[in-house]
Amino acid sequence: MALLGTFCITISFILSIYSILGFLISMKFKAEELKISARWSSYLTLPIISIAVYILVYSFVTHDFSIKYVFNHSNISMEPIYTWVAIYAGNEGSLLYISTVISLGSFLTIKTLQKRIPESVPHITIIMMGILSFFLGVMLFLADPFTLLESQVQDGRGINPLLKHPGMFSHPPLLMAGLATISIPFSITTGMLISGNYSDKGTEYVRITTLIIWLMLGIGLLLGSWWAYTILGWGGYWAWDPIENVGLMPWLVLTALIHSLIVQRRRGMFRLWNLVLINIAFVLSQFGMFINRGGPVVSVHSFAASTLGFIFLSFMILSIIFPTIIFLWKYKELLNSRKINSFLSKESSFLINNFLLLAITFVTLWGLVFPLFSELFGKEPVTVGTPYYNSVNGPLLLILILLMSIGPILPWKEGNIKSFFKNIRFPLIIFVLCIIISLIFFSFNFLAILAFSSLSLVLATILQEWIIGTNNRMKRLKENIFIGFINLINGNRTKHGGYIIHLSILMLAMGIIGMNFYQQKADYVISKNKLLDFQNYQVELSEIKTKNFADRIERTAKFNIYKKQQDKSEKDLEKITELQGSNAIYPSFNMASVRAAIHSTVLEDLYIIPSEFIGEDKLLIRISINPFISWLWFAGPIFFIGAIFTLWPRTEKNTKL
C-alpha cells in the first residue's frame, strides 16, 4: 500500500512536470494537440493525488503502523474520526494535504478559465503546475508521507493531544488551504501578464478566488483563536505568536486587495497596484510556509517543524524574484491614465485603507523578524511580544476603524465638503454623544471610550445608509420595510455584503477592545467547599476528580458559580451555573492540555483555568473576567454570511455593471 502511495505522488509529480513542458513546447511550436494533452495532464494530478490521500486515510483506519507517518500520528485507541486531523498533523501529511488543495484549485481554475480566457491558460497553468510540482517534489524527495518504519511495532505514538478539539477539524485545514491557494490568484494575474492579455474577465475570477481565500483564512484564524481560548488555557485568544502572525499577514494584504479590487472593477484604476498586492500576499504565504516548517523563530505551533527550512526559504526567495522580473518586464502594459479626482473620494479613501492595512502587515512582519535581525548584529537574543504589537498596531487599527466610517459615505470620483458633512452629521452627533455619555456614567479610560465610540460612529454610518435606502424604497416603490430592506441590499450585493462584513469587524473590535482595556484577572488558591469572591461572582470548588486513562492523567475540577450577594444578611445563594475545567497530562508527549471552565454571557465571560492541583482538596486557579469576548465568536458567522452574500452570483435580472 505504502509503495502505491509513493507511486501516486511520483506520477502526479511527473504529470505536473509534463504539463509544464507540454505547454512550453506547444507554445513554441504552436502544437494545439499537445496543448490539450498538457492541460489534461494538469487535470489528472487531482484524481491521482486523491488516491494517495485515500491510501493514507486507509492506512490510518487500518492502523498500518509500518508507515512511519501513521506510527507517529496515531495509535490503536484513536477514534477513526481523528484520522481527518491526523492527515495534516505532521509535516509530510500536511504537504500532501496542501498539494491536494492546490491541485483541486488548479483544476477548478483551469477548467473555468479555459472557457473565459483560453489565450492565457497555458501561462497560468505553467505557473500553477510549477508551484504544485514544488510541493510534490519536496514530498517525493525529502518528506514522503509513505516512508516505511524500519522496525516492527504494535502501536503508534498517538495523535498530538492538543489537536483533540472541534476547532482542530477546521482551523488548520482552512489556514493551510488559504495560504496554499493564494498561489491561484497569483498564477492567474502573473499568467495573464506574461501572455499579454490582462483582461477584466480574468480579474473577475481573481476577485472571486481572492474572496474565497480571504474567507477561509479569516474563519481559520478565528477558529484558531477560539481553540486557544478554550483549550490551551492561555486565558487569551491571540498571542501574536509568529505562526499566528504569518497567517494574519496575508489576510491583511488580501483585505487591502479586496478593497482596491473594487476600485479596479468600478473605475479601471489600480490595476498595477493590485498586481503588487497579490504578489506581496503570495510572498507572505510562502514566508508562512517557511516559518512554519523549520523556520528560525520560536512558536507554539511547532507541529510541522522539519529540517526543510532551507528548501522553503529558497522557494520563497524564488517567489520574490520571479514575480519581480515579470513585473519589471511587463508592468507598462497595465499603466493607465485615469487619475484620482479628489481627496474626498472613495478612490483616495481606498488608498489610505490599503496603506493602513499594509502598515499593520509591515509592523507585524518587523516584530516577527526583529529577533533574527538583532542576532544578525551580534546582539543578545531578544523576544518581541504582545506589548509591542498592541502598542504599535492599536493606533493603526483605530484609524482604520475611523476610516471605515468615512469611506462608505464618500462618493466615487469627486465629493464635495457640503454633502460629506451632510452625510456624516448624524453619525458624528452619535459619536460625540457616546463619548459624553460614557464619560459621565462609566469609566474614565479615554482611549477605551474613544475606541468604543468609534465603533458607534461606524455602526451609525452603516445604519444610516440602510435606513435612508429602505425609506426611499418604501416611499418610491411602496414596499414594506422588510421587503424594501431585502431589495436594497440585494440590489448591490458587493456593497451591502461589504457592510455586513464591516458589522462583523465591529463585533470583533468590540471583543478586542473589551479584552484589552477591561479584562480583570487574578490567581487564587481555592479550597473545597469554600466561597471565593471575584467581581460579581462567588466561586465554590465543589469537586476534584482524578482519572487515569491509557494515554493521560486527567484531573477535573467542578465549580459552582453563585451571584454575589448585595445584602450580606441573605442566606440563600443564587446559583448561576455549574462549571467544569480540566487539566490533563500526557506523559508520552510531555504535554499538558488544559480546558478552561467558562461561563459565557453577552457582556462578559467568567473564565477559570485550573492551573495546579494541590493535594486532594486545593486548587490554584487563574480566574478572569473577559468582557465582550463572546462577540468575537458571534462575529464569525456574520463574517461568513457577509462574505457569502458578496460572493453569491448575480442573476441575469439584476446584472448591472
Binding site: 488555557g233 507554539v300 509591515f362 546582539k379 543578545e380 468590540m510 487574578a522 467581581q535 473576567i625 468582557p627
Partner: protein, 129 residues
Amino acid sequence: MPHLKSIILCSIIPFSIYCSNELNNDENRAQYLFENLMCPVCDGQTISESQAQLAKNMRDIVRIKIEEGLTDDQILDYFKSKYGTSVLSNPPKSGFYFTVWLIPIIVLPSIFIGLIFLIKSLINPQKEN
C-alpha cells in the same frame, strides 16, 4: 425621523461599556509582570500562559519579589540578569533594541505623508481648469 432609530440603536454600545472594580494592586502588578516575562523553556509563551514547572516557579518568585517591595523594573531586571534579555517579552527601549520601536514610529508616518503627496500628484489637473 429615520435617524432617530439609528441614534437609539447606536447608543446601545457605549451603554454596555463595562465597568468593574479594580483588583488589589499587588495582584494586578503580578499579572502584568507575568505577561512581560517569557518562559525560557517553552516555545513562545509567557509565564502567564505556560503550564511548565519553571514558569510556575517564576510566578512564585515574582510574587515573593513584589512582597519584598521591589519595583516592577527591579523585578524585570532580576530576571533579565538571570536568563538574558530574551526573557523579557518586549525588547528594552534603549540602545540597539530601540530600533524595533523606532522603525514603526519613523517609517509609517513618513510613508503616510508620502501617500498624501502621491494622491495629490495623482489628482487630475483637469479639475482645476
